[in-house]
Symmetry: C2
Subunit: 570 residues, 2 copies
């Protein structure tokens, strides 16, 4: 479908000419005249086999330099499709070189792929025959010069930072993990369910919620309206009242004077008009600027959803309804916490993957979580090795080894009680948080278990009921619940899940024990009232997984647009 006025392309860039999982980018050439740089330089032959082909490529100049006394220029061109650049050569007869060589310049060019002189690093380069478009850059003003910029500095330029090597590599790894997630669950017969973002049910009574409202804008609109068209004064209403009385009196008089029907009808109609007008004035006189109030409190019945509404903290409770009908489901969407955390591990908006499985117990849950995490790691090794090599070189020497280890090693599985015993016996390290049965494991404990004791991922299961949510299934010991966390080196807890309490009487008791009201959970109890089923599920914090994979330290750098207290750029 490419336009027919352009020169020969890479012979349809047929998928068969490519390998290494990079044929995807080539398929784009079905729709456009442009070829992605990935489909040239990421072939196993480095593109050598494409020498002689005519192509159009576009990208942004990473580095450019004039050579041969200004007779030609070398440009390192990157289009974000892979970490590698394409070397591009432009002669001064083809285009003025000065504007092309600035870092950040966008160029769209056409030319022939050639084998470069022997002894050079790249396997193919592009000799430009025509410069189709140039998006120039004033190097004095461009915020992202060639010098190395800190990730912290780049957070002030979230709209431009994907042009850097690091943020674009993270974006590709994040993309791969997202697609791997869908692929894994679809492959295993799970249905993707979109749980709601705006919710009126608070998952765990957690509290730190963002509220969603139109009350402020409604109040603003009303205020504007009242300014343009002020509410009636008392004397206006009095006048209108008087008019109604007058019109009524006229009718009485006409009636006692036995006036004819027409006269009375006309008078009645005038009375009706006067009454309507009074009613309108009275209605408007009730309008008050500001937020709607009732009994001294905000009147949420006047809000958009006629009640308080919030941003979801988890899709779990809602997706359980789908699991209790479709058996194997998952949700993958944004979740929110209005916590005033300024740490490198917390965001106000983050993405969660939450599978939920019917006819399954804690063991099935652990099997699924382990297989999923392994699948993600293997996927990156298979599909993102070049980006992972970039991370190893620049951020975390052990990133690839960690993926390989997790993909190939069976996860250790120990009970919470065993975990506490192991940690209590630790002598070579003093923990900041004291270990004893009943505590919630802190990140230092989780990492010690995974990094030092087992040197691999560890699944800890059967936690004390006192530190876990009401919906987790009570074990027969009546002390622990069928919860499980997957702990991994580098980030600690990556996955948290549980078998859900499917017994009506037990969960009702647990809700009350947690000090929660029953009414908001009535719908949730319905799933236990009618055709209840053993089921389980877990949640994986998607940004945690990206941190684990990339070795990046701050969560604000692994999500495209980080939101945290005081900041929500764009």
């Amino acid at each position: 479908m490419a336009s027919d006025t352009t020169p020969p392309l890479i012979d349809q860039m047929a998928a068969t000419t490519l390998d290494d999982g990079h044929n995807a980018s080539a398929l784009w050439a079905q729709f456009s005249d442009r070829v992605m740089i990935r489909s040239i330089v990421c072939r196993s032959d480095g593109g050598a086999g494409l020498a002689g082909q005519n192509v159009r490529v576009g990208g942004w100049v990473k580095t450019g330099r004039e050579q041969g006394k200004g007779s030609f220029a070398f440009l390192e061109l990157n289009d974000g499709s892979c970490p590698a650049n394409l070397q591009v050569i432009v002669e001064k007869e083809v285009s003025p070189l000065e504007q092309l060589v600035q870092t950040g310049t966008c160029v769209y060019v056409q030319g022939q792929l050639k084998e470069p002189p022997a002894g050079t690093k790249q396997k193919v380069e592009l000799r430009v025959e025509k410069v189709i478009d140039v998006g120039p850059v004033d190097p004095a003003k461009y915020p992202l010069p060639k010098t190395r910029l800190t990730l912290e500095f780049l957070r002030d330029f979230v709209h431009l930072r994907p042009r850097t090597n690091t943020i674009s590599a993270v974006a590709r790894i994040r993309n791969a993990l997202a697609y791997a997630t869908h692929t894994f669950f679809q492959k295993h017969g799970f249905l993707y369910v979109h749980t709601p973002i705006i919710t009126t049910s608070d998952c765990e009574g957690a509290g730190e919620l963002f509220q969603v409202t139109t009350l402020f804008s409604d109040a603003e609109k009303l205020e504007k309206e009242l300014k343009q068209n002020p509410p009636p004064s008392e004397s206006e209403i009095e006048a209108a009242n008087l008019l109604v009385k007058e019109k009524g009196d006229i009718i009485s008089k006409l009636k006692s004077a036995k006036a004819n029907k027409e006269e009375i009808t006309a008078a009645v109609s005038e009375l009706t008009i006067a009454k309507d007008s009074l009613a309108r004035l009275e209605e408007r006189s009730k309008l008050k600027p500001g937020l709607p109030q009732k009994d001294g409190k905000i009147d949420y019945s006047r809000d958009f959803f006629a009640r308080q509404a919030f941003l979801t903290v988890s899709g779990q409770l809602q997706v359980e309804g789908f699991a209790c009908a479709l058996s194997n489901v998952y949700t993958f969407g944004p979740t929110f916490r209005a916590e005033h955390s300024h740490t490198s591990r917390h965001l106000a908006e983050f993405w969660m993957v939450e599978p939920e499985i019917a006819f399954a117990d804690l063991k099935d849950n652990m099997n699924c979580a382990e297989a999923y995490v392994k699948f993600l790691c293997q996927w990156l090794l298979d599909n993102c090795l070049d980006d992972m090599e970039f991370m190893v070189k620049n951020f975390d020497k052990t990133a690839i080894d960690r993926l390989k280890m997790v993909a190939s090693t069976p996860f250790e599985r120990i009970s919470y009680t065993e975990a506490v015993q192991l940690l209590e016996n630790v002598t070579d390290k003093k923990f900041d948080n004291k270990v004893e049965w009943g505590i919630d494991l802190a990140s230092e404990h989780e990492r010690y278990l995974s990094e030092i004791i087992f040197k691999k991922p560890v699944i800890v299961y059967n936690y004390p009921k006192g530190i876990k949510a009401f919906y987790m299934r009570l074990n027969e010991d009546m002390k622990t619940v069928a919860a499980m966390d997957v702990l991994v080196p580098k980030v600690g807890e990556l996955v948290g899940g549980s078998q859900r309490e499917e017994r009506y009487e037990v969960i009702e008791k647990r809700i009350l024990e947690a000090g929660l009201p029953l009414e908001p959970y009535d719908w949730y109890l319905d799933m236990r009232r009618y055709g209840t089923v053993k089921h389980c599920g877990f949640g994986l914090g998607f940004e945690r997984m990206v941190l684990f994979a990339t070795g990046i330290d701050n969560i604000r750098d692994v999500i495209p647009f980080p939101r945290y207290p005081g900041r929500a750029d764009l």
Copy 2:
């Protein structure tokens, strides 16, 4: 990894034993002892080849009846993995039958697959040897009896409605369309980008936004706190002031009396304590119940993000930043409109797919949109035919034909000007909205073009600039912009997109012409200031696509948890 205490399963349900794209469900047996019903009844042999195998299956009873004078029961069991049921036979020696036969009962059973007697509809049935779990139903209370329920009725039971044939079929079709979306874009080298849900930039100055805030809960917390611990009275502050003065006087006296160093240091330390205490009291005396105000207005600098924040109406502007770095990207996430629309076509929360492509013009955009829509249709024909047959039987006789037509027919492409001419010449229909150059096409016009004139999808391009957004690229005629809409039978506009204005001077002028301030778009202009690139993109309303595919009439029935004015259940 299935447990080893259970009886033989379908021999690992190896993927090779299955066909018709249904091997996915079989892979689940790697993690669990349960086999999905889909991997039995959706084989091309209807499951006949599995006769003799021992399996565990779970599901909810669609219909059940006792037979042979109560000696055994037939159950039609569905687990949501496909529209078809598995016929299950339980003898009374195995389990009391009465509680099993109620519609909605959940059963988890183990038994042997058998070939049923000749002449029956199903190719395989399950003879139960053991009932592992039962989740009973009281038929007098169950809200979803066997009788046919209207979709409107079911909207009051969003947590239970996935158990119905219709809502579960829609859920599977929706899942298939979501995965097809990711597959299409990944296949063509697009990177999935998570654009923000909470945003401080309003895409089109559209206005109908939901605000995100913690001001209400902060005010509530403060109010509670002030009740428990009231702010200091004036006299308390006065006393604290006096104390500071006293302590200061003491120091002066000590100094003039040339007291020793220790005495003075002790006095200074007492003064410091008194000053701190005063400062704390003064700080607390400023606390006022209610929302924070400044100059008579809400003080949003005290809100979570230190400014007003909203739910996104589109990820386009933000994803453009990624396209201007990574070339081919897409976003797929929830978007929001606080419109008071009570129609069958509008939701307050809905999902959008928004690809964005650099080095591409309107023609590339149309190529991509057409290929994507065709891909979705073909995917359903290949992967969801059983669910589509259900829709044809129960909702829309033409649903499958429509998919086939769209998947196989080249879309018509006409300019807006041509479209208006065609509509002006229509004589067999009187439109509610007058047609003339310059109007925005109404749904009736869009459907007439697609359903009556061309009888296939139509792409209308080059719309008058007056009716389109500022970011659409101005054409050389200076009257139209490079916008395009894909119109399809049944729903009208399915896709809307445009080439974006990449010229700095032009877009700056267009923003001002639209009466918008420049400052909030400064970051957006940066993409034109530095290395600008021709780029384009489009948006597909995901629920519209589900409506188009299923033939369902009301958008509230094609999203799991519909949100609209006055309603946000769960």
